[in-house]
Point group: C2
Chain length 320, copies 2
């Protein structure tokens, strides 16, 4: 039976501020190229002042997945904290315009809506500096029991563990999901995030999480292995399904019972790799929640990832 | 002698909200395809609710010209009204990041910063719905005598006549420019705008305006002629220099003494025609204010127009 809502995403609700920069700026602000660094308001103002003219668009990892899932026709819902300001209204509009059920209203009396200052290097690599703002408010009271119970699967992102009450909110999601027989998926966000929360993620994976999304660096960091093959060996002892993306090497879906190897979909020209993982997860979950096999779901994921890296920005153009 | 500031632009300061739409939406909101319609806050909310996920970036016609001029290395300044809100700060950042001297600080106690909801049809044509917001505040007290006197040329856009005290502000600009021996340029904005303010524009052109920028439709509307050749005949009786852009037919620069015909620069693929005229003016004025001939300036204008129509959005990527 298909649930009324196939996937409920819970994540940091962020508006991206994108600009092309010279690599000197990265040195000046001390950000490793390709990293995601959390910054405070003062640093946000400093970095913004160093950036050239920018473009603003809604972003956030699992938020991008939910948007891309809705774009495919999946009925999805979303929990994330934005302030009742112009950027918050932009974020909510961009979700609702795709038919996503946005569970939380924009909040008053909080820090402003979160922004990620995304510095695009001449080679196309992206360095993200994220001011969490209103996202920091996320707490267990925001986790609607009705929304969790009404979903087929809830998708958590590792980044929410960075918020003061994020671990408690994630705990509440997992508790409610278990109580209502709802599947739990977790995406590991980035390898620095895994470094920050390795024990908490390991615990969630030994507990209620049934589906883990990660790239090679993230899974190796989580399992403390030197090689991807080493990580695969460890995974074969574990219960959850691991959906592992490997850029141009495709993806692998594996646990102690299953083994699916999926090739990447070839692309003519890579324009912008941001959001490839998020788009893969959207395609995969669209397949999985509509009754496709793992292999078919992986194929859908690869197709969406291929589409998103041939455009600028992490959300696919509206197609329906 | 080169002035410290080559061009001071005075215009509506607008943030663009861009989304791809089906043409049914245009029918639903009653906007002729390709037009610019002024809307109030209620209509703005209605249109935004009908739009898909959007991208936000700074826009505004003469504001785009000033940004593109600064991008070329021209020292420029800008007067336009934004509110002290997130979109206003984005607008000011995007100007300052290019080195533009932004004369007015964001304002408190006004309507929010102006937005233009830009609906992109499947064929690439753009229909603009502009909520003027804080722009409506523009009045003669915003016209800094020091800024006008310090410029080589002031560039006005026709759209500012749409604001309640816009004509008075434009009058103050022209008075101060005359008093200080500063050249005055006027861009006619769009043919609907010419319809709204034909007499005022004609008066300005018979008076202090020395340089008029227009496309074919605008100049024919202004001079009430059926054909472009008819407009050219009328222009030969007039004093100001007319810089007329004709899309793929190039441009013509003409008055009672001068005649320059410039071919368009060929492009491989037109991606988005928005801002072609604004970019042309930027290239032209960069040439003109740095001592190039009219023909060289026209060539620079054609090159910038060709560049901008091969990218998305009206402002060229930062190149310096």
């Amino acid at each position: 039976m298909t649930s009324p809502v196939s996937v409920l995403g819970i994540s940091n609700a962020i508006v991206d501020v994108l600009a092309h920069v010279d690599d000197e700026i990265l040195t000046e602000i001390g950000a490793p190229k390709g990293s995601m660094t959390l910054i405070d308001q003062e640093q946000a103002e400093k970095i913004y002042a160093l950036m050239g003219p920018a473009t603003e668009m809604s972003g956030g990892s699992v938020a991008n997945t939910i948007a891309n899932l809705a774009n495919l026709g999946g009925k999805s819902a979303y929990i994330g904290c934005v302030a009742d300001d112009q950027l918050g209204r932009i974020f909510v509009h961009d979700m609702q315009a795709l038919g996503v059920d946005v569970v939380l209203a924009p909040m008053n009396d909080t820090a402003p809506t979160a922004r990620s200052y995304i510095l695009i290097s001449p080679g196309g690599e992206r360095t993200m500096n994220t001011y969490l703002g209103a996202c920091m408010e996320l707490n267990p009271t925001h986790v609607s029991a009705r929304a969790v119970a009404g979903a087929g699967l809830v998708l958590l992102e590792g980044y929410i563990w960075d918020n003061p009450q994020g671990p408690a909110a994630a705990g509440e999601v997992m508790r409610l999901a278990k109580e209502n027989g709802v599947e739990v998926g977790l995406t590991l966000s980035d390898s620095y995030c895994v470094d920050r929360h390795r024990d908490a993620f390991a615990e969630a994976i030994e507990g209620p999480v049934q589906m883990v999304f990660a790239n090679e660096k993230e899974i190796m960091s989580l399992l403390g292995t030197e090689t991807f093959d080493g990580a695969l060996s460890r995974i074969r002892e574990l219960e959850p399904l691991f959906v592992l993306t490997r850029s141009e090497k495709g993806s692998v879906i594996v646990n102690n019972k299953t083994d699916v190897i999926q090739a990447a979909v070839p692309v003519e020209k890579v324009v912008d790799v941001t959001g490839a993982g998020d788009a893969y997860i959207a395609g995969f979950l669209y397949g999985w929640t509509t009754g496709s096999s793992l292999a078919e779901s992986a194929q859908l994921g690869s197709e969406r990832a291929a589409m998103v890296i041939q455009q600028v920005g992490p959300r696919l153009e509206k197609t329906n």
